[in-house]
């Protein structure tokens, strides 16, 4: 049913730290690796070794230059489904393939019901949904629903693959509906923001803005190079000979 639950018991989601993300793409490949055999499998690649590579990914990392009065900074920006509280991608679905779970707030697609009309991808402002042209259905991030409740995995591994893979711990997973949860407190402490709040989708995921620059940071500017003086004597002769 594509009507939304009035409320969800939990609001599971991700918090992404734009201060520490180094743009290494580890979350991207870990996501692809897990999910191409997971709930929404396969994550089809089209012409993977050819000139027009295309394929389905649930997580994409962009890089931006953010220019402010404090100067320029490079910001790596992972983009994936935000598991919104008001996901228009679900309500526009004509078949009931898209749904938001009342238990944990995860937005999923039932691939067996999807007719591939693509309207959900038009309704998502964040570009979270990608169409699989090979299978003819829409695919999206599942928040690794087949990992986070998986009793066959060690408890510390019951997190989304992207979170498990992040080498700088820039990705955090938890219940954003519980103000006492570690992840909610992190958002509180760091002033986490929602993306495009003006559209009213109420995304669950939060992004932690880069920290303000410290005045105490070490200077990393290298000293300017001095021009090399022409040398005389034997070394100067070798230099001239080798320069010819």
């Amino acid at each position: 049913m594509t009507c939304l639950p009035a409320r969800t018991e939990k609001k599971l989601g991700l918090v992404i730290d734009l201060d520490t993300c180094v743009g290494c793409q580890a979350c991207v490949t870990a996501c692809k690796e897990w999910n191409t055999g997971g709930h929404m499998a396969p994550l089809t690649d089209i012409d993977p070794y050819g000139g027009h590579v295309d394929g389905v990914w649930f997580n994409r990392v962009h890089s931006y230059e953010h220019t402010t009065e404090q100067g320029d900074r490079t910001v790596n920006f992972p983009r994936s489904c935000l598991h919104c509280e008001q996901p228009a991608c679900v309500t526009v679905c004509p078949t009931g393939a898209s749904y938001k779970r009342a238990s944990d707030g995860i937005v999923l697609v039932d691939e067996d019901k999807c007719i591939g009309c693509k309207l959900c991808s038009w309704a998502c402002p964040y570009g979270a949904r990608e169409f699989d042209t090979d299978v003819g259905v829409m695919k999206k991030c599942t928040l690794c629903v087949d990992r986070i409740y998986n009793d066959n995995l060690a408890e510390e591994d019951r997190v989304p693959a992207c979170v498990a893979a992040c080498p700088t711990s820039a990705r955090h997973f938890g219940d954003l509906g519980d103000p006492a949860s570690a992840i909610s407190q992190l958002v509180e402490e760091r002033g986490g923001v929602a993306l495009m709040p003006e559209l009213g989708y109420k995304p669950t995921n939060r992004y932690l803005p880069p920290r303000a620059r410290s005045e105490r940071a070490a200077k990393v500017d290298a000293a300017a190079l001095e021009p090399i003086k022409a040398e005389g004597g034997f070394l100067g002769w070798i230099d001239r000979m080798l320069s010819n």
Binding site: M1, T2, C3, L4, L18, V28, H52, V53, D54, G55, V56, W57, R60, V61, H62, S63, Y64, E65, H66, T67, E69, V75, F77, R79, V90, T91, V92, P94, T95, G96, A97, K113, C114, I115, G116, C117, K118, L119, S121, W122, A123, P125, Y126, G127, E130, F131, T133, V135, G136, V137, V193, L195, M196, P197, E198, L199, G200, Y201, Y207, P209
Partner: protein, 312 residues
């Protein structure tokens, strides 16, 4: 937005088909247009044919068309599902009206009621089509108060011009119909100009700053996540039309509005076969013009996801 031909044709054809159906249902059922077997057969055949061709074309847009029947289930939340339900439901009164008015040659009574219901169904279906686009917040050019009236006005316009062409063709031409078709075309022209004017001055609150959560200053894309165009850029990052949009807007105005207005204006002043030919040319030019208009409707619409790619 990528203008998929299946959807461009679908919305244009069903718009004209439902517009014609509504007019025939109202005017035929009430006896204003007298029951005439051949006129009725061609008129209803054209209306239902355009609708059926459009609906079939729309399934060409689907990744899994064999599951299209599932789209009738979510009418509580989805305008696309409501469109599916309304379009199929309209076939019932339209079919009854066709039997009564075309095959039995009757008007009034139950035939009038069936015609009225068919017209109501046609209007409702057009509304659901318009709302599919008008309800999409990420596309500011569609999520405006201009979109829903545009679908209704263009359906009335193309339906009227088609109805006039048929009436003229069957030598049943009334004096009112060309005037009505001409006025409807002028209304469509005005609405399209107002829409373009609105869209050209649109200030969208969503920016690369709000899209990334990076407050203040400027946010410039320096690297994409991928080297080739992906689904998002192919579907939502369509830019080809922008380059030619001024020319395409002129072509739209010439074909969809100016030519039909000129042709409909001369219908009065020329004898029968010429008036009929002018009316048919008006309908043909307008349909072609509306295909260009609908193509531009998609191609000029910008989705918020392109902000992540540094495209405008």
């Amino acid at each position: 937005m990528h203008p998929a031909f299946s959807v461009v044709f679908f919305t244009t054809a069903t718009g004209a088909g439902y517009g014609l159906l509504a007019l025939l249902g109202l005017l035929g059922g009430s006896g204003v247009i007298p029951a005439d077997f051949w006129f009725g057969l061609v008129g209803m055949g054209l209306a239902l044919g355009l609708i059926a061709a459009g609906l079939l074309s729309s399934t060409g847009h689907l990744g899994r068309p064999e599951r299209a029947w599932r789209a009738f289930s979510q009418w509580r939340s989805s305008w696309l599902s409501r469109e599916g339900v309304a379009s199929v439901a309209t076939f019932i009164p339209a079919g009854l009206f066709g039997i009564g008015w075309v095959l039995l040659g009757r008007s009034g009574g139950w035939v009038a009621i069936a015609g009225l219901l068919a017209a109501a169904g046609a209007v409702m279906t057009i509304c659901t089509t318009g709302m599919i686009y008008a309800s999409l917040k990420p596309i500011a050019q569609w999520h405006s108060r201009y979109t829903l009236p545009a679908y209704l006005i263009f359906a009335a316009m193309t339906g009227s011009v088609l109805a006039n062409a048929l009436l003229q063709g069957f030598k049943l031409g009334s004096t009112a119909m060309p005037i009505w078709a001409l006025l409807a075309t002028l209304a469509g022209w005005g609405w399209k100009l107002a829409t373009w004017r609105y869209n050209d001055r649109l200030e969208i609150p969503t920016t690369a700053n709000t899209a990334t959560g990076l407050a203040g200053g400027t946010v410039r894309s320096i690297e994409w996540p991928h080297t080739e165009e992906n689904y998002l850029l192919k579907e939502m990052g369509f830019r080809i039309a922008r380059k030619h949009s001024a020319k395409l807007r002129l072509i739209t105005q010439a074909l969809a509005f100016a030519t039909p207005v000129a042709l409909l204006a001369i219908v009065y002043f020329v004898p029968w076969p010429l008036g009929a030919i002018a009316s048919m040319l008006a309908a043909g030019a307008q349909f072609a013009g509306m295909l260009v208009e609908r193509w531009l409707f998609f191609a000029e619409a910008k989705h918020t996801v392109i902000l992540y790619y540094g495209r405008e």
